[in-house]
Symmetry: C2
Subunit: 293 residues, 2 copies
């Protein structure tokens, strides 16, 4: 295992242990807890929490203080996948290589498991004894703005409304910024907030935060055309089936790759100027851009 | 209009204005905002916010400091109704005298409108300039515990699991305590928390908080059998159709009424001992117990 893979795996392990115990430690009715654990334990890359903790590390901060908000972020990501997969939404059967939540349980349980994960995300931040009240308020406020009707949920809605429609690259960009970008961006800004960076560092990290969602999403679109279903853990071509607009469809495959590389350049240039310990963050950006799943 | 009706209406007006502007002031995609406003503007009795503000008033506190959390509480109540009405859950077509959210829009929009309202509830508390950080943290934490997988959502799940089953009165009580009681109880404890009551007052108010959900829910069960559909704004007899266990079904109508009155006695006795300005709260308890809608 190369050193970056080990870096990722180590962080993923820390996050998984905390995530599982958060969900297990509460006395939900059995079936609700099972459904929450089913999707939480299904794995996934834990990109958002890792990004948050890597940002803290790059700024020389003690990253244990980021654990609860990192887990909160992953809970919100997971709830959004559960609701997104529902028959009334994208109607997907397979996610992370296993049956989607409503297939493994039922629609009602999946809706409630999503609702409970969303609610739990705010609870775990407010219960963290390692954070000050001011920090908790900042994190809950920014996380709710990034994930709610002005952020991720807005992106979901825009995405649904654009199905079967010809949309411009600007509209597609706005969908992705909201749907994927806001949570990824929160990962960096929340990590920075907890680490008290210089203004210079904060400014450059914010620039990275702004393009990271686009890098991630363009690669997602590319994988849906050219990826390997086995590696990704869900069928490829689902964007085509759902008549979704994608970067390769609007710009062509070459154009999409070029667009993505432009954003990677912006991110890496900002990282150079940020005056932080950039090793892990730069490898993480490279990984997001060229991952095969 | 008698004085208590005017009291209710005045509070409802304050809450409605704030609620509407919270949802309107954010730049959601049009359809998402429309769907959120549709259910928020559908009316409803605003019992939970009124209860919170009445508690503050009874303790002599400035109730403007309770506005954001009162609205947050109503947002959570409203989101739970939207999700509860979905075809996969109770599959209801009519709510508050108009088409349910997924009937007026569509299922995907209804799911997202619910998600956005839930998320917004935590945002508005953290953005309130009249509260300290400590108060915000307390309110977000207690509201998430009352509404999530250890509270209201747990009750929803227990309720779904008990359909078409013979359940005991104890199980029914536990369902109601979670599904309805926790939010009503939060209304009183949050109002008390913001008003710094004496230990004696707090103890008695907590006792009232604990029985209020049962009073409310038994009356709900009674109305579903003996109520007037026009007044309630939804069809009666839906518990029978959905094979739900109810107080009248388990205890008989007389038994249900007797049970309810027992809880009303407990609440009014505690109110007597609480040493607060009890006028409005006692009328509110009477109203919850004998309302016809």
């Amino acid at each position: 295992m190369d050193s970056f893979k080990k870096y990722l795996t180590d962080y993923q392990q820390i996050i998984n242990e905390m995530l599982f115990s958060y969900v297990r430690d509460y006395t939900y009715p059995g079936r609700l807890q099972e459904a929450m654990l089913y999707s939480i334990e299904a794995g996934g890359k834990r990109i958002r929490p890792v990004l948050l903790l890597s940002t803290m590390e790059a700024l020389g901060a003690q990253h244990t203080r980021g654990y609860s908000v990192a887990c909160a972020l992953e809970m919100i990501h997971t709830y959004s996948l559960i609701h997104d997969d529902l028959p009334a939404m994208d109607d997907d059967d397979i996610r992370r290589g296993q049956a989607t939540n409503h297939q493994a349980f039922d629609e009602a349980t999946a809706i409630l498991a999503g609702d409970a994960l969303l609610t739990l995300s705010f609870q775990v931040i407010t219960e963290d004894v390692n954070l000050t009240s001011e920090e908790k308020v900042y994190l809950v406020r920014e996380l709710s703005k990034a994930s709610g009707g002005t952020g991720m949920v807005a992106g979901q809605m825009e995405d649904m409304l654009s199905e079967n429609k010809q949309i411009s690259i600007d509209v597609l960009k706005s969908i992705h910024v909201n749907k994927t970008g806001r949570l990824l961006s929160f990962a960096i800004t929340a990590g920075a907030y907890l680490s008290h960076p210089s203004d210079q560092s904060l400014g450059e990290l914010t620039k990275i935060a702004n393009v990271l969602g686009l890098i991630f999403q363009i690669q997602d679109d590319i994988l849906d055309v050219a990826g390997d279903a086995g590696a990704i853990g869900k069928p490829v071509g689902s964007d085509e089936v759902n008549s979704k607009s994608t970067y390769p469809k609007i710009l062509g495959m070459e154009g999409a790759i070029k667009e993505k590389e432009q954003y990677v350049d912006i991110a890496l240039q900002s990282l150079d100027k940020a005056g932080v310990n950039a090793t892990s963050l730069s490898r993480l950006i490279g990984y997001l851009s060229s991952r095969d799943r």
